[in-house]
């Protein structure tokens, strides 16, 4: 091939659309968008071969901010939409994105089953431990003593541990990242996409408006002390006992990804034969 006519590689900005996000300045999701574009540039798939599926919430705004095919669906159902799309169009790279409320509250059931199904897609949750879009209610990952109008004094409820749940439900790749490190996050997203089966990445993404206390997260995150394991039991022990700020790939398993049932091809006449007497 003539160097002069070789196609230009995709730059990170090729994966960004012209739409200017309406997230609050200071929001972690800006970094996640940046990380996403860097990750896609590392993978070099044409933007049109990537689909970003989301639900409802601040984080779920992300599809239109990318230059990929996007789907902004209803609250909590993004994993179902992504599953249908991936099964119908397995050659696409399907990324499902959303927040902790969308994903673990209303979306909780679909989360369990997506992990269990182990469909080859990547689920990115921007976890800010609050419902931001609706002005600051506790989410399933909120600390029990966080005060809010809807739950004065705190919910008193133990927060969800999504990484453990993902592991227990069968996710093939479990990782945690921090939005403040867009390059590290990009690396993890690349690994997640490359890893077959259902990859779950929890990205700690501070909410500047409703959780200003999360500014401290930058000081609390630290690289995971040990290398990722492929032993679910070991991973479970580690994740259940970590401080919630352990950054890195925590589990990378070898379960075979979901495979749709196939059958020898038949034509309509063969199908209809069963009705003929």
């Amino acid at each position: 091939m003539n160097i002069a006519t070789a196609p230009k590689p995709f730059a990170a900005n090729d994966y960004k659309s012209d739409y200017k996000p309406v997230w609050c300045p200071g929001c972690g999701d800006y970094s996640v968008l940046l990380a996403f574009t860097k990750a896609m540039a590392a993978l070099q798939r044409p933007p049109e071969d990537i689909a970003v599926i989301s639900g409802i919430g601040c984080s779920s705004r992300i599809p239109a901010y990318t230059n990929c095919y996007g789907f902004h669906g209803v609250h909590g159902r993004a994993l179902a939409v992504g599953t249908g799309l991936k099964v119908a169009r397995p050659e696409l790279t399907v990324i499902v994105a959303g927040g902790d409320g969308d994903g673990f509250s209303i979306g909780g059931n679909h989360f369990l089953h997506a992990c269990r199904r182990n469909i080859d897609l990547t689920y990115i949750v921007m976890d800010n431990r609050v419902y931001g879009m609706t002005k600051g209610q506790p989410s399933p990952t909120t600390e029990p003593d966080w005060d809010s109008a809807l739950a004065p004094g705190g919910t008193g409820l133990r927060p969800f541990h999504p990484l453990v749940i993902a592991l227990a439900s069968g996710a093939n790749f479990v990782a945690r990242s921090f939005a403040g490190d867009p390059n590290g996050t990009a690396d993890i997203i690349v690994q997640a996409i490359k890893h077959p089966g259902f990859s779950f990445v929890e990205i700690l993404s501070p909410c500047v408006t409703f959780r200003p206390d999360q500014r401290e997260w930058g000081k609390m995150v630290h690289p995971a002390a040990v290398a990722p394991t492929d032993d679910p039991a070991r991973a479970a022990r580690r994740i259940m006992t970590d401080d919630g700020f352990n950054i890195g790939v925590l589990y990378a398993g070898s379960r075979a990804p979901y495979k749709a049932l196939t059958a020898p091809p038949a034509d309509m006449a063969a199908i209809e034969k069963e009705f003929a007497l």
Binding site: K20, P21, V22, C24, P25, G26, C27, G28, Y30, S31, L34, A42, I56, G57, M133, T134, K135, G136, A179, G180, D181, P182, N183, G184, P206, V208, T209, F210, R215, G218
Partner: protein, 173 residues
């Protein structure tokens, strides 16, 4: 030098690093300008736009010295801040009500950061040419910093209630 980054660079590689740094700084200022525009903070938007243009000029000068040789990992360059290049304003340091003083303070931090980083290279880089180049760059950055400091001094300090918004947050969905 840096955490787990590379420590031995050729001059070509160092130029590529420099370009990447300036380029990223410019992109970041532009991104922040966009954010400020979307949030109707016109003054700071203009300021970020200006800073972006300056960094872009620096980047263009460096680009002439050759293409970036490969994807540069910012860890190769980092000195104090954990995650991004020294001159890149972290995305979590902005606020929709920030004042020009805040913006310039960030820019100052960036320049000082870069200066420290280059000083470290000037001290310890194995390649003599790189050391020389780094020393020059450090001087440049210190000059930029002084410039910004001067500008900053002319601005009034932000009022105590600079981040007070009488309107409550809005729903949009």
């Amino acid at each position: 030098m840096s955490g787990d980054g590379k420590t031995h660079h050729t001059v070509q590689e160092f130029y590529a690093l420099l370009y990447a740094m300036e380029h990223e700084a410019a992109e970041r200022y532009d991104e922040l300008a966009n954010q400020m525009e979307t949030h109707n903070n016109v003054e700071v938007a203009a300021l970020f736009r200006e800073l972006a243009a300056v960094e872009r000029k620096h980047a263009d000068k460096l680009k002439a010295h050759g293409q970036a040789v490969q994807a540069i990992r910012p860890r190769d360059m980092n000195v104090s801040r954990a995650f991004e290049m020294p001159e890149t304003t972290p995305l979590d340091r902005v606020h929709y009500l920030m004042t020009p003083a805040h913006a310039l303070a960030l820019a100052l931090e960036n320049e000082e950061q870069a200066a420290r980083c280059f000083a470290a290279f000037a001290d310890a880089a194995p390649d003599a040419e790189v050391r020389a180049l780094a020393a020059e760059m450090a001087k440049d950055e210190r000059r930029h910093a002084a410039f910004i400091r001067e500008r900053l001094a002319k601005l009034p300090a932000p009022p105590a209630d600079w981040d007070q918004d009488l309107d409550p947050p809005r729903f949009s969905e």
